[in-house]
């Protein structure tokens, strides 16, 4: 890495270890470099997934447009979903975890540095394999969850779905490895004094999340193998004619798919649990409840999968049982919102860009969570599942939730990773364009669902207000595109010319701020003593340390 002007010099050891720059990155087993590669690759796929979304929104801007053929549209919406979930959200969360978990526990690297690199390279090459499908006969086009029998050979004879299955298998193996690596790292490499109960909440969430990963990804990997065996070796796992069942695919897939959405949100809760306390100048309100509720979510997440199948006709008994468990999981998710608000209460709030995103998260994630509770009410689901109401819901939790928290984390932690502050001026522009663009795109989609518009349609009839509602959504999407461009611009100019950050620009309290920005290769010259959840607060406030309460 080039040394930014004004940052503290890196250690001599690190300077001597650097061979040619590209080779040092490609052969790196250092968690910080691997993490940056994760983040850069996710950012790249985010732009591609975003372009796919814009293409879709152009096609849907008005009824009856022919901008994209139905075949092209179906490939693009499938790739948009697959990209955003597997190539953007999960990797960006793994990347931030990979960078900051070792630092926050006072370790010098992950438990298995080489396996760490493997996880990244499987992700990159899996993503490239997925996109190669465009050149190899057509991208997958059966939706990101590829229901059988549509995904089977008779109905999808081109190899797109095989690319999809193989790419996701590669990525899935890497993800499980990353989960294992994070668990072992957190369990075994904590610095002396950092008991499990003193873990920063982000690390705690990553720990719980990693268990989710190692239990949820294998069902997906197994299902992908079964699908490939069906498609290539003429088996009948998921085709009814051979004695198999298309419903089996749904059960297997959603056993992965539901925990997967929590995999995509628990680290987000972790970011918020770091950012809000620091910028409110208060510790998190109710650490115990927030930590315990995370475990509750993880356990419950394995018992709600069939809420994706309420329209299948499983029977009222099954529907209601899964409806009840789905309502239950809303409780540990929802109470965190109150804990975060209570953290702000009585604080001294600093409106940095990171804090703006965290505050917006509280509102937009609540909207997404509430529409989720509506879906747990079985008859409501019977009306609005598979419509734009669910598209609105998922984007409120994944974009208004996870992505907003990722932006908060970016503004919070970019200084640590690069030694430079992101521009707060451009940050505010980024924030407001995002907030307005996001709500303009997705709020109206709730109404489109109630108006009867199904999801995954390349066009729609000229019914009252469908055109104008879709047009508003399209305009919002382009605002979001502009917002993302501003963010990328901010990253670029700040990396080159941003204000030097120093060790702890935010006066935060966890261990990653007790070293240089960026940290040396071994992370710490010396780790401060850890006697509470906020070691740096204790150092700075010897008259009122946390461990004295």
């Amino acid at each position: 890495m080039s040394i930014p002007q004004g940052a503290l010099p890196i250690s001599l050891e690190a300077e001597q270890a650097e061979t040619t720059r590209l080779l040092s990155w490609i052969s790196s087993v250092d968690h910080k470099q691997i993490a940056i590669m994760y983040l850069a690759t996710s950012a790249f796929f985010f732009c591609i997934g975003g372009l796919e979304a814009l293409l879709m929104r152009v096609q849907l801007a008005w009824p009856g447009l022919n901008f994209l053929s139905p075949d092209a549209y179906n490939q693009i919406f499938t790739m948009h979903g697959t990209t955003m979930i597997f190539l953007v959200v999960v990797p960006v969360l793994l990347g931030l975890s990979t960078y900051f978990v070792p630092l926050m526990i006072g370790a010098s690297d992950m438990a298995f540095p080489r396996m760490n690199a493997l996880s990244f390279w499987l992700f990159l090459f899996g993503g490239l394999l997925l996109y190669f499908s465009f050149f190899g006969g057509g991208a997958p086009d059966a939706g990101w969850f590829s229901y059988a029998p549509l995904s089977e050979k008779p109905y999808s004879s081109h190899p797109g779905l095989d690319y999809w299955a193989l790419a996701l298998l590669a990525i899935g193996v890497g993800t499980v490895a990353a989960g294992l690596n994070l668990i072992v790292t957190i369990v075994t490499l904590r610095v002396k004094g950092m008991t499990i109960r003193r873990l920063p909440l982000f690390v705690w969430m990553v720990l719980v999340n990693s268990f989710l990963i190692i239990f949820a990804l294998p069902p997906l990997n197994a299902s992908l193998v079964m699908l490939l065996v069906d498609r290539q070796l003429n088996a009948h796992f998921f085709t009814q004619l051979g004695g198999g069942s298309p419903l089996l695919w749904q059960h297997y897939f959603w056993s992965f798919g539901h925990p997967e959405v929590y995999i995509m949100v628990l680290p987000a809760f972790g970011f918020i649990s770091e950012v809000i306390p620091v910028f409110s100048r208060q510790p998190i309100f109710g650490y115990g409840f927030v930590a315990a509720s995370t475990v509750a979510i993880a356990l419950l997440s394995f018992g709600v999968w069939a809420h994706h199948m309420f329209a299948v006709g499983l029977g009222h008994g099954w529907d209601l049982a899964f409806g009840a468990s789905s309502m239950l999981i809303a409780v540990p998710t929802g109470v965190k919102i109150f804990n975060w608000i209570a953290t702000m209460w009585g604080g001294a709030i600093r409106f940095t860009t990171a804090m703006w995103f965290a505050i917006a998260f509280l509102i937009t994630f609540t909207i997404g969570g509430l529409s989720g509770v509506a879906f747990a009410v079985v008859p409501i689901d019977w009306q609005v599942t598979d419509t734009y109401f669910v598209v609105a819901h998922m984007h409120y939790v994944l974009f208004g939730g996870t992505l907003f928290s990722v932006f908060a984390a970016a503004y919070y932690w970019f200084p640590k990773m690069s030694g430079r502050m992101l521009s707060e001026r451009w940050g505010k522009v980024h924030f407001w364009l995002t907030f307005i663009g996001f709500n303009a795109t997705f709020l109206i989609q709730h109404f489109l669902g109630l108006a009867g518009m199904p999801r995954r349609v390349y066009t729609y009839p000229d019914l009252p207000f469908w055109g104008v509602m879709n047009l508003i959504s399209t305009v919002g999407a382009f605002l979001l595109g502009l917002a993302v461009s501003v963010f990328l611009f901010n990253l670029f100019i700040s990396y080159k010319n941003g204000e030097p950050a120093g060790d702890n620009p935010w006066d935060a309290w966890t261990l990653e701020w007790a070293t240089t920005s960026p940290p040396p290769t071994e992370n710490f010259v010396r780790v401060p003593p850890v006697k509470s959840r906020r070691p740096l607060w204790d150092l700075k406030h010897p008259e009122n340390p946390d461990w004295k309460r």
């Binding site: 053929s69 075949d71 179906n74 059966a142 229901y147 059988a148 029998p149 549509l150 109905y155 009814q240 298309p246 419903l247 409110s280 100048r281 510790p283 309100f285 409840f289 329209a311 299948v312 006709g313 009222h316 529907d319 209601l320 409806g323 309502m327 239950l328 809303a330 409780v331 109470v335 919102i337 109150f338 804990n339 608000i341 209570a342 702000m344 209460w345 009585g346 604080g347 001294a348 709030i349 600093r350 509280l362 509102i363 609540t366 509770v373 509506a374 009410v377 008859p379 409501i380 019977w382 009306q383 599942t385 109630l450 108006a451 009867g452 199904p454 349609v457 390349y458 406030h541 946390d546």
Partner: protein, 309 residues
């Protein structure tokens, strides 16, 4: 509200769902208002002032946390009780013998009336006031039968027939759509449910059950001969003739339908002409190939199809 079918129910079953939905939306709106107010108030009230020292540090109040855990549980329990009632009320048990068998095909809806012994496509008629047991099946991949103003949606799965009760008291026309991605033309797998008065329904049913008359003079007669000679008979049935294939929609009473190609086009001679000229241009990816028909073939065929009232 009339532009929001989910909230303009026309059956008692859909009304139950709409009422529950309205209640849940009000509860959600109240919670959102509470959260937003708290967020905005705390952000404003506790904004930092210049040179403000660190505030007194607070770590939590167990009683508050218990309270705001229990309150949502209680609220959800109440909602669950209503959910239970509406689940059973809006989706009543169906008879074992269906009055109507709907099969979802890529990308049209086959509707068979077993008692009357006929089949039609995309335009489904039911009598007002009578609970119709509808059996719903997938013919190829998974589809989903959804008429928001009338009932819940339910998947049409190959090998797993589902059953639905449709009971509408007021005559009218209601729009439906496939609501499970089923391939290239999922977007144009729409349909309509026409609720007739009981006497109108009887008339319609008798009419549909009757065979088509074969015209004997004029272009329509030429068209009927072409229909039998060309590839049309490989996919389409017209009762009263030798055409009995079930690959594509039954055309016996094609001209009596308001729209065709699963609601894509208004059923006019001009549109039928465009369709026969090149169906792939209008509904790319659909399973009717461009048969490369000449104008000399299309004109009589259209005339014939227009006689299939």
């Amino acid at each position: 509200m009339s532009h929001m079918p989910v909230f303009s129910p026309s059956s008692s079953q859909a009304l139950l769902i709409a009422n529950l939905f309205g209640f849940v939306l009000i509860v959600c709106a109240a919670i959102l208002l509470l959260v937003t107010s708290l967020v905005c108030y705390s952000a404003w009230r506790f904004r930092s002032r210049p040179n403000q020292p660190e505030p007194a540090q607070k770590f939590g109040v167990k009683n508050f946390e218990i309270a705001w855990t229990i309150a949502p549980i209680v609220l959800l329990a109440v909602i669950f009780v209503f959910t239970l009632r509406t689940t059973y009320g809006s989706d009543p048990p169906a008879n074992s013998q269906p009055d109507l068998v709907v099969t979802g095909q890529q990308w049209w809806w086959e509707a068979r009336y077993p008692q009357a012994g006929f089949e039609t496509a995309n335009e489904i008629h039911v009598p007002a006031g009578k609970p119709m047991t509808v059996s719903i099946l997938g013919g190829d991949v998974i589809h989903d039968f959804w008429v928001p103003q009338l009932s819940r949606k339910i998947d049409a799965i190959p090998g797993y027939p589902n059953r639905l009760v449709l009971r509408v008291d007021q005559p009218g026309t209601y729009f439906g759509a496939c609501a499970e991605f089923c391939g290239a033309q999922h977007a144009w797998m729409r349909f309509r449910v026409v609720v007739d008065s009981p006497s109108d329904f009887e008339t319609w049913q008798e009419h549909e059950a009757a065979n088509a008359a074969t015209p004997s003079i004029g272009p329509a007669a030429d068209g009927s001969r072409l229909f039998q000679q060309l590839t049309c008979v490989k996919c389409h049935a017209v009762r009263g003739t030798d055409a009995a294939a079930k690959v594509g929609p039954d055309l016996t009473h094609f001209a009596g339908r308001q729209r065709f190609a699963a609601e894509l086009l208004e059923n006019t001679p001009a549109n039928v002409t465009r369709w026969l000229t090149d169906p792939q241009a209008l509904k790319p990816g659909c399973h009717m190939p461009n048969m490369q028909l000449t104008t000399a073939q299309i004109e009589p065929l259209v005339a014939y199809l227009e006689t299939l009232q």
